[in-house]
């Protein structure tokens, strides 16, 4: 068995063949997806970027608090009514896999915070809003990546590492399938041969039985006729002998 070196230790049954086939399919899909490993690298980068952006945004909010001379939190929370900044979700086709992406957009003509910072610090408030808007855009971008990752993750779970799947799991599974197939064929042939043997033996047995039966029947008939001969035939035989008339 040439594949014996590199295959999994399974019993060659139809069930395990099915399992192996499913595994191969999973490994191949996962393998294709893992080639898009860069998504995870981008997540990592985007998360770092988010850290910086949020820090800058927090700083600009501190500026606002200082300029306004008090906390604007309560006022902002109370005046928030309708979202100006919204997102749109669409699907993007990344080599055959549909990944959702978020896209941000601003709805026109609604401004919940027209009065915030009206007294003083208006400029800072304006700047802060812009900074935060940019920060949220970064967040939306990151959320897209992350959602893509979550969806991919469900598919990828089957395999751990790209190298593993490319050089180990896939050939190994293929070998195992080949092995199971050859074993199953072998079993089929053996089974066929066995069945033929059984059939032969059965035929032989039946023939022997038939012969025996016939012999028995013959013997019985012979016995019966012998008995008849012993009882009634002598007369007939005698008559026949007697009927030997000469004209």
């Amino acid at each position: 068995m040439s594949g014996a070196v590199n295959r999994e230790a399974v019993f060659p049954t139809r069930q395990s063949l099915g399992v192996m086939k499913a595994k191969l399919k999973g490994a191949q899909t996962g393998h294709d997806l893992l080639k898009r490993k860069k998504i995870t690298r981008r997540i990592d980068e985007a998360k770092r970027k988010m850290g910086r952006v949020m820090q800058i945004a927090a700083f600009s909010l501190a500026e606002v608090t200082y300029a306004v001379g008090g906390d604007i939190g309560y006022q902002v929370q109370e005046s928030a009514k309708s979202a100006r900044f919204r997102i749109r979700t669409k699907q993007e086709n990344v080599s055959g896999v549909f990944l959702p992406t978020f896209e941000s957009f601003n709805t026109e003509g609604n401004n919940d915070f027209g009065l915030t910072g009206l007294g003083k610090g208006g400029q800072q408030v304006q700047r802060c809003r812009e900074t935060y808007a940019r920060a949220v855009e970064t967040l939306v971008e990151l959320a897209s990546l992350q959602t893509a990752f979550v969806i991919l993750d469900e598919v990828i779970k089957v395999v751990n590492r790209r190298e593993l799947s490319e050089h180990v799991i896939i050939p190994r599974t293929e070998n195992t399938i080949k092995y199971i197939n050859s074993e199953l064929d072998e079993l089929d042939r053996e089974e066929f041969f066995r069945l033929k043997k059984v059939q032969n033996k059965k035929q032989r047995d039946t023939a022997a039985q038939d012969a025996e039966m016939q012999a028995k029947r013959l013997a019985e008939r012979k016995q019966e006729s012998d008995k008849e001969n012993a009882e009634g035939n002598p007369d007939i035989l005698g008559e026949q002998e007697d009927a030997d008339v000469i004209f």
């Binding site: 990592d44 949020m54 919940d112 939306v140």
Partner: protein, 124 residues
């Protein structure tokens, strides 16, 4: 692998669970939304040291499961820590859950549920 359109079509808002500063900033960016009067629901929750963990969990549940109009949920990392078990077991694609840093708590990639999953996946 295409998710059904119904899973994301109407999700056009962001939601926040965060400390006062984070929420204020994000609201200034214009993400704040209150739904129509009968059961006017806010899409943000301000958490401070006095907020009960149960209240955070409830908000988390509401934003992730009940409401179908939220596409992205932002949560301060130090608040996510308080309900870490919930965040860790959350695996749905929509809404996307994003841990963000706050002013007093800089971002720590080690704690992020998603980044941890990324690492585990590549055995790093």
């Amino acid at each position: 692998m295409a998710a059904p359109a119904s899973a994301y079509k109407d999700r056009q808002f962001l939601a926040v669970i965060g400390d006062e500063d984070s929420v204020t900033g994000l609201l200034l960016a214009g993400i704040g939304h209150v739904t129509a009067p009968p059961d006017s629901q806010k899409n943000f929750l301000v958490v401070d040291s006095k907020t009960e963990t149960a209240a955070i969990e409830e908000a988390f549940e509401r934003f992730t499961t009940e409401r179908k109009d939220i596409g992205i949920l932002l949560i301060n990392q130090h608040i996510a820590e308080r309900i870490r078990h919930r965040v860790d077991t959350y695996t749905a694609a929509f809404p996307a859950l994003l841990e963000i840093p706050s002013k007093d708590h800089p971002y720590d990639p080690e704690k992020d549920s998603v980044l941890r999953r990324v690492r585990r996946l590549f055995g790093e």
